[in-house]
Amino acid sequence: MLSIFMQVVRRDLLLAMRQKADVLNTLFFFVVVVTIAPFGIGSEPALLRDIAPGLVWVAALLAAILSLPRLFANDYADGTLEQMLLSAEPLSLIVLAKATAHWLSTGLPLTAMAVVFGLVFDLDRYATLTLVATLAVGTPVLSLIGSIGAALTLGLRGGAVLASLLVLPLYIPVLIFGAGAVSAVASGLAVTAYFLLLGAFLLFAAVLTPWAVSIALRISVE
């Protein structure tokens, strides 16, 4: 059972490595949104320091949405998804593996990039650490919840727009607590509660979404 999980993760990462454009596209979008914002907002360091966590979080969220379509669309188009539905292994495990691979190829690089943005926006060390840590816990939730939207809108015309409409409301709590934790650090408050909530989101999503996505995929493939 564990072997199918590892195999699918390996396969999706291999595909991501060989189709670098898709992954780089997401990262490029993230970097551009964050770096271009100061041109519009003004370059006052104190102001930027205040909005940086929220800005990075919003950009990460949009980048995650941008990368959703490729979660299942290619497998759907070439028939691999059919074979996944016909696997003797549990479909929810395959789905969890795909969401994991999606996070490893988008969420993880975004999280790593946030370290650089911490320096660029002159956040103190503790705030940067908190930003990176919230993204590390929060971005897997984005991948998991996003997979529901991607599965439900599979094969629909304009599916990408619909998927983002579906998942955006579910992303908002993650955004609020993720960005909120960093602001709390800046005002000297404790962040434990934020991390407990983000962790709860993650566990909740990891348990429930693979199951929901499996059902959605069976419906979409009909």
């Binding site: 072997s3 199918i4 195999q7 699918v8 396969r11 291999l14 595909l15 060989r18 189709q19 290619n74 188009a77 070439d78 028939g79 691999t80 059919e82 074979q83 996944m84 539905l85 016909l86 696997s87 003797a88 292994e89 395959i94 493939v221 009909e222």
Partner: protein
């Protein structure tokens, strides 16, 4: 033993077939015929469990496949219209990954033997993107050679894009699979001779399906 009990299928507002009954015994071949748009692919997808029939049920070894999905899928190999081949993977990786996704073990020797058997052994380390349509079809078909122990094969137009020798090799594989006591369900427009002891035909023609039993 694969049984269809009163299967009906509607797609959109159109009724493709209704009240379709047949029973395929182990060691026999079921050929599904009918002109375009009569629901052959839909029937195969229903038999796989990918599509819910509007009415009726499919039984495998006497059990509704919806209830015993895991055991059923362990017994089944389905090759559909789509090859499930990834352009960015090599021929060999494609086969290995397809088998892994199906939940089947594949050792190196079997992988090589299967690819040789479908005639793409010489390109096993080539990216699938550089292959012809027929060669890509062969990657999907290699799964059949790698899974001779699955008691049920469901094949949707397996001969498309194959050359004469490929067709001959595949029809021989199918007949030997059937002779060994397994079941094969097949849709094909080509008039390929497959030598089997017992063959059944289902003709879909928009009305209630008619069934002809033939012994060759």
């Amino acid at each position: 033993m694969l049984d269809a009990i009163h299967l009906s299928c509607e797609r959109g507002d159109r009724r493709l077939f209704a009240g379709l009954d047949f029973a395929v015994a182990p060691g026999s071949l079921l050929r599904v015929a009918g002109s375009n748009g009569t629901g052959k692919t839909s029937l195969l997808r229903i038999l796989c469990g990918l599509l819910e029939p509007t009415a009726g049920e499919v039984r495998w070894r006497g059990q509704d496949i919806r209830r015993t999905r895991d055991e059923y899928l362990r017994d089944l190999v389905y090759i559909g219209h789509l090859n499930g081949v990834k352009d960015e993977l090599t021929v060999r990786e494609n086969l290995q990954i397809a088998q892994a996704i199906a939940g089947r073990r594949l050792d190196d020797a079997t992988a090589r033997r299967s690819l040789e058997a479908v005639g793409i052994g010489h390109v096993e380390h080539t990216m699938a993107r550089f292959l012809s349509q027929g060669q890509r079809r062969r990657i999907a078909l290699a799964r059949l050679f790698a899974t001779p122990d699955a008691p049920l094969w469901i094949l949707d137009e397996p001969f498309t894009a194959l050359d004469v020798r490929g067709v001959a090799a595949l029809s021989q594989l199918i007949s030997s699979h059937v002779v060994h006591g397994n079941t094969v369900v097949l849709v094909t427009h080509q008039d390929v001779a497959i030598e089997v002891q017992r063959q059944q035909d289902v003709e879909l023609n928009g009305g209630p399906g008619s069934i002809a039993e033939a012994a060759c």
